[in-house]
């Protein structure tokens, strides 16, 4: 964990906006779809046409309550307010949001490192449209013209506001990662930061020692990845410390993270920023979910990441290595741990199930979620039994996912994967050693780094069909 100089401590709270996976927008029946042609998912409500009225999507309410339940929030009767400010991406020039009574009140989130981060609220609101800028420099400032696409306007969002309980950039990253895993697990959101379906703003301040009162905070926007979040929070804390140590003061402001430059920059704020003139939205009526509805959602929620990690460790048995712990964290974070559990239940060696799922399967994108578990298990069993090398198994896995399932044995055969007998391995090794005498001499003198060199040559010569373990054993035998 990075430490700050001279006894300074950072205080961080995160505001996370997540889009909900509803079929339609929050207040109208237009499709909630990413990547459509501009201004096609549009109706009078999306354009803020005179006379149009919002009607609340029941699925968005359900999803919001799912998130609140997963974050241990108090679920309560709530209502909507209007947040008034002019901006061209807002079709009505106000945003329908929740203000004094959010649907989800106080809750908490336990980080894997044991830290408990308070949740202040998780409320429903509508998204804005998207603005692009043409002419000028291409960035917002200095553009000659801006173009607006309202497809995203009205997409349902839940804004999750943490308490200022985070004390390091790593922890900020950990919170965002854990929250994303929870959002995905709850079924309410897909948590894709790159597509902007999950957006993180960080409130950062610093203070001297953990008993000092909170300092003046700055809000950092434009954090498009977990890496940006961690870098930006670190940068911002150090920037504030530098200012304070130079005897200057912090101005409360919104700052923009510049990923390329690696620094935060002040944003031009508007007069309205301090005066949103919130008032109760007169076109909507309150939401009062029944206890039965809330209970039903709680019952239907699947296991959350923390519980799944505990269960996985138990299934692995014994004391997992650090590498395995990392694999396990990643598997849960990426929501692929059900493959591990399924494989272990079917009798696959836990270490293989864990490694193949966390390292290879998780890297293959969203298509993996349509891969039948039985086909995956069949593949791992081939590897487990030694019928396929690890390298071969990985190649067949890619084929299997691309095909959306199938018989792994047949796919292996199509690739011509058949186990080499020891005789042919010997012959290949003879040739490789003869062609690389210097490397062989250094290997025999104890330069173990050359193991990889020879293994790679064997794999190249056999087109990956050799079993890595067998190659290593043969090399060791010959070295004597």
């Amino acid at each position: 964990m990075s430490t700050l100089p001279n006894g300074w401590e950072m205080v961080v709270g995160l505001e996370v906006h997540t889009e909900l996976k509803t079929q339609t927008k929050l207040f109208c029946g237009c499709a909630n779809a990413f990547g459509s042609e501009p201004n096609t998912n549009i109706c009078p409500v999306c354009l803020g046409l005179p006379g149009s009225l919002p009607v609340l999507n029941e699925k968005a309410v359900e999803f919001a309550i799912r998130i609140g339940t997963a974050l241990n929030c108090v679920i309560q009767g709530s209502s909507f307010h209007r947040k008034n400010y002019f901006y061209p991406d807002q079709p009505k020039d106000y945003q329908i949001s929740q203000y004094d009574i959010p649907i989800n009140g106080i809750g908490f989130l336990d980080l894997p490192d044991g830290t408990k981060v308070g949740i202040e609220r998780a409320h429903l609101e509508e998204d804005t449209g998207k603005t692009t800028h043409v002419g000028g420099s291409g960035r917002i400032h200095g553009s000659d013209e801006s173009l607006v696409d309202y497809n995203r306007a009205g997409v349902p969002l839940v804004e999750i506001v943490s308490a200022p309980d985070i004390r390091s950039a790593e922890q900020a990253r950990g919170y965002a990662a854990e929250l994303r895993a929870i959002l995905i697990a709850s079924g309410a959101s897909d948590g894709r930061m790159e597509e902007g379906s999950m957006r993180v703003d960080a409130n950062v301040s610093v203070r001297k020692g953990s008993d000092a009162p909170f300092g003046t905070r700055c809000e950092i926007k434009n954090l498009n990845s977990l890496r940006s979040l961690q870098r930006a929070v670190d940068f911002e804390a150090l920037r504030q410390i530098d200012l304070l140590e130079a005897g200057e003061s912090i101005t409360q402001e919104t700052r923009h993270w510049d990923e390329d430059a690696g620094r935060t920059q002040t944003m031009r704020s508007k007069e309205e920023a301090n005066d949103y003139r919130y008032f109760p939205e007169p076109d909507l009526v309150p939401i009062n979910p029944t206890q039965a509805f809330i209970d039903e959602i709680a019952r239907s929620l699947p296991a959350m990441p923390a519980q799944r990690r505990v269960e996985l460790i138990a299934q692995l048995g014994g004391d997992p290595t650090q590498a395995q712990r990392d694999q396990l964290m990643a598997a849960v974070e990426l929501n692929v741990d059900s493959f591990i559990t399924g494989a272990i239940h079917a009798g696959v060696t836990p270490a293989i199930a864990l490694a193949r799922t966390a390292n290879e399967l998780a890297a293959l994108g969203d298509e993996i979620f349509s891969l039948p578990l039985d086909d995956y298990v069949a593949l791992l069993k081939l590897e487990d039994a030694g019928a396929l090398s690890a390298t071969q198994s990985k190649a067949v896995l890619a084929d299997l996912v691309a095909a959306g399932g199938g018989d792994p044995a047949a796919l292996a055969k199509q690739r011509g994967f058949e186990k080499l007998d020891d005789g042919s391995l010997d012959g290949i090794l003879d040739e490789i050693i003869a062609a690389n005498p210097d490397e062989w001499r250094r290997y025999c003198e104890g330069d173990d780094k050359l193991t990889g060199f020879f293994t790679g040559k064997v794999m190249a010569a056999t087109k990956g069909q050799a079993d890595g373990k067998a190659v290593n054993a043969a090399l060791r035998t010959r070295k004597g």
Partner: protein, 472 residues
């Protein structure tokens, strides 16, 4: 020309819808150059619809309770492809891509929209002088205002250009012009008529309602436009009330309170008319009492904070980006500002600024918050009153129609003309205005009947009794 009779004649084949609609346009052509009740006419569209209706009737189809009846539509209700400007430069020439729910219901009932009627810009005003496209004149005296904001709709019915029209009532914008023009005007219970497609002024107060020459026609029109609409979240989950069938049930045994607070500031002739209307009700068997609801006196100041607050937000969308007037500028803020400055008239600007101020940081509690609490007091006071009476009787307006230009320079004096109608909107209750004789100036007087939520049936019964007992 009764709408009910016309619809029956058309349905029975006694008259053709085409003939009825053509007659309406003849009346408009004859009188509207002077009155200016209409902003736009839908001549071809209306005649085409009438012909189609006539064909359906010939084929023996049931064409609905308003078959062939011409109707005027206030220019703040969206109608596909027809200019809907709210009498504002900022929406000049704007044609909506969708129909308001009331328009859909009218079409289904066989009514024929003949044009969009003049109004105060965005329904803000009490005289129709705030229209960006010229004033409407009172058919009883062209030097007088027709009232507002639905002045065009009231005048069109009063001048017999159409038997029916639709208005919207946020603080009295149906009842006040109905009284000043000598026609019946109804503000229904909040949520009884869908607001979908009604261009919002103050969403928690706005309600669409009918104008007609008589109580029966108004009841018929309200039956057609009322009812639950899933497109309006504040729409009541209620079927349309049955009004026409119960119209002649009388008022025997009905407890009616004459409210002194709805007579304050009333001129002698108006006060006399209310007293005579009360006598008519008593003569028909109603139990009269005098009541006082002093909290209603808070209505005007509460209203002139709440309505502008909501309006300041509702009218933010007129920013020159997606539709409506754009006046270009160097950056988007300049463009927004120039468009709005050029597009809105003074009264609209006044209310937007007032509402912005009432909601702004540091003033919310003193103004908007306090107005909301006063609203609670008014609702509680009404509830208490309705514990001992069934309906309340009072003036609709303190005076008969005033002269054009008489109050237009003095917003406060203008606001005072809504003093009797505002409390109903704050409570969400129904109320109506029925003509009752004339003042010393020979201008029409209206008396107002108020009732609790969903008391429309009783209100219409009492209105019918007053109508039948009114001086010729």
């Amino acid at each position: 020309m009764s709408a009910l009779r016309t619809a029956q004649d058309v349905a029975d084949g006694e008259r053709s819808a085409s003939e009825v609609v053509a007659e309406s346009f003849r009346a408009i052509d004859q009188r509207d150059a002077e009155i200016h009740a209409f902003l736009t006419l839908q001549r071809e569209q209306a005649l085409g619809e009438a012909e189609a209706l006539d064909v359906r009737i010939t084929n023996g189809e049931n064409v609905g309770p308003l078959a062939g009846v011409p109707i005027g539509i206030k220019d703040n209700m969206c109608q596909i492809g027809e200019v809907t400007s709210c009498a504002s430069r900022i929406l000049e020439g704007w044609r909506p891509p969708y129909d308001a729910t009331v328009i859909t219901k009218l079409k289904a009932a066989g009514a024929i929209a003949v044009g969009k009627t003049n109004m105060d810009e965005f329904a803000m005003g009490s005289s129709t002088e705030n229209s960006a496209f010229g004033v409407t004149r009172n058919p009883h005296d062209p030097e007088k205002v027709p009232g507002g904001s639905s002045g065009g709709s009231a005048a069109a019915v009063a001048a017999s250009m159409v038997p029916l029209s639709l208005g919207s009532d946020t603080g009295g914008s149906i009842r006040q012009p109905a009284a000043l023009c000598g026609v019946v005007g109804v503000k229904p219970t909040y949520g009884l008529v869908s607001r979908y497609g009604l261009v919002a002024f103050a969403s928690s107060l706005d309600q669409i309602g009918p104008f007609a020459n008589n109580v029966e026609d108004a009841a018929l029109l309200l039956e057609v436009i009322a009812g639950h609409d899933p497109k309006d979240s504040t729409s009541l989950n209620q079927p349309a009330p049955s009004l026409v069938a119960h119209l002649d049930h009388g008022v025997r045994g009905l407890r009616i309170g004459i409210c002194s607070d709805l007579l304050q500031g009333a001129s002698d002739d108006v006060a006399t008319a209310v007293a005579q209307a009360a006598a008519v009700l008593q003569g028909a068997g109603a139990e009269l009492s005098e009541i006082s609801i002093p909290e209603l006196g808070l209505g005007l100041s509460a209203y002139y904070l709440i309505a502008p607050a909501e309006a300041s937000s509702n009218l933010a969308r007129y920013d020159g980006v997606r539709y409506g007037l754009r006046v270009d500028g160097d950056d988007v803020t300049a463009m927004n500002t120039r468009s709005r400055t050029a597009g809105f008239g003074d009264e609209v600007k006044r209310r937007i600024m007032l509402g912005t101020y009432a909601l702004s940081a540091g003033y919310y509690d003193a103004y908007y918050g306090q107005a909301q609490r006063a609203r609670t007091l008014i609702i509680q006071a009404f509830a208490k009153a309705y514990g001992s009476v069934d309906l309340i009787l009072g003036a609709t307006t303190p005076t008969t129609a005033f002269g054009i230009g008489e109050k237009s320079g003095d917003p406060l004096a203008m606001y005072q003309s809504d003093i009797c109608t505002i409390p109903t909107n704050l409570a969400g209750h129904p109320a109506l205005s029925v003509p009752f004789g004339k003042g010393v100036d020979q201008m029409p007087i209206g008396v107002q009947l108020l009732g609790p939520t969903l008391s429309e049936q009783r209100l219409f019964q009492a209105a019918r009794v007053i109508e039948q007992g009114a001086p010729a």
